[in-house]
Symmetry: C2
Subunit: 163 residues, 2 copies
DNA sequence: AAAGATTGACGCCTCAATCTTC
DNA sequence: GAAGATTGAGGCGTCAATCTTT
């Protein structure tokens, strides 16, 4: 990892340069992806992600807590979202038979149709803004870089908002 | 359809793998940085960025519209934020002498103190989560990758939210 | 007491409407 | 009319409190 360059208080020129560019991506890319989904599907990125997660689960069903964990979201946030998705008919909730505390969320037929209708344009935007902007080697590098950052994020401190 | 890596409708295995990891970073890293700032400085990332921008400007002053452009934020968003920052005493607004339509935002002494007090911990978190998680070569790669993505973002379509 | 989930209050952002100055 | 800026309404997320089941 970071061997010889450990001045704690500031960033060197090269590091600062890299961080400024990366921070721009961190600001603007999620906004751009959200904008595309909002425009063409009336969905935000988190809503899309939740529908996608459910579509890939057995029975198209997942516990609320499991869903929250996979989306790195608080249970509260997911609960609010589930209210809205349920109102729109994309998902349905039912108490879990095996554990009276838990709630299962299920993707409805309408929800699946919504997702499959929205996916191609979203994937195309991801391809346009990220994948096709990079060389094959850079795509590989990006994977490795992301993994490393994620490992720091995971071990940093306990994820809050679980209550 | 599926020649090379230009199938428009979906992502190949390697691309998907890279995207999944990168999307995780896109979700979690901004949240982690916001959390640190919120905890230790009662600031969010956008507020910090605005203060930092002003601190680097001549006279510690910038037009609202210029500030919004540099932060890739809508004028509306910046205006709401400026209300809050002004209430807290970090900035001051005054009409621009040269153009009656424009408003200048100035970082106050208190705002500068707030920024300098908050910066070290924030930089340390950036270093911990990003810079020190990567090799020197990866930091360089990340710079190049970010530049490429930014160029797509810039040319994509006109930035909305200017009204 | 802990885990799972939900709710309401409050804060921030988006969107459309509005006002002033150029 | 366009540019710069602001405002209010409504939507979404966070936080703290609450309820139920284990």
């Amino acid at each position: 990892m970071g061997e010889g360059r450990s001045e704690p208080e500031w960033l060197t020129g090269r590091e600062l340069d890299a961080w400024m560019s990366f921070a721009g991506v961190l600001f603007q890319l999620p906004a751009a992806l959200d904008a595309q989904l909002q425009r063409e599907a009336r969905l935000n990125h988190f809503e899309y992600f939740v529908l996608a997660m459910l579509s890939g689960a057995p029975e198209r069903t997942l516990r609320m807590s499991e869903l929250a964990a996979r989306a790195s979201a608080s249970q509260s946030r997911l609960s609010h979202l589930a209210n809205r998705l349920e109102d729109r008919g994309w998902i349905r909730r039912a108490p879990c038979p095996h554990d009276g505390r838990a709630t299962n969320a299920t993707l409805t037929e309408a929800g699946l149709e919504k997702l499959t209708a929205s996916a191609p344009a979203h994937v195309a935007e991801v391809r346009r803004l990220v994948i096709d902007a990079l060389t094959d080697a850079q795509v590989e590098e990006l994977r490795g870089i992301s993994r490393r950052i994620l490992s720091r994020l995971g071990s940093g401190r306990a994820t809050p908002g679980t209550g």
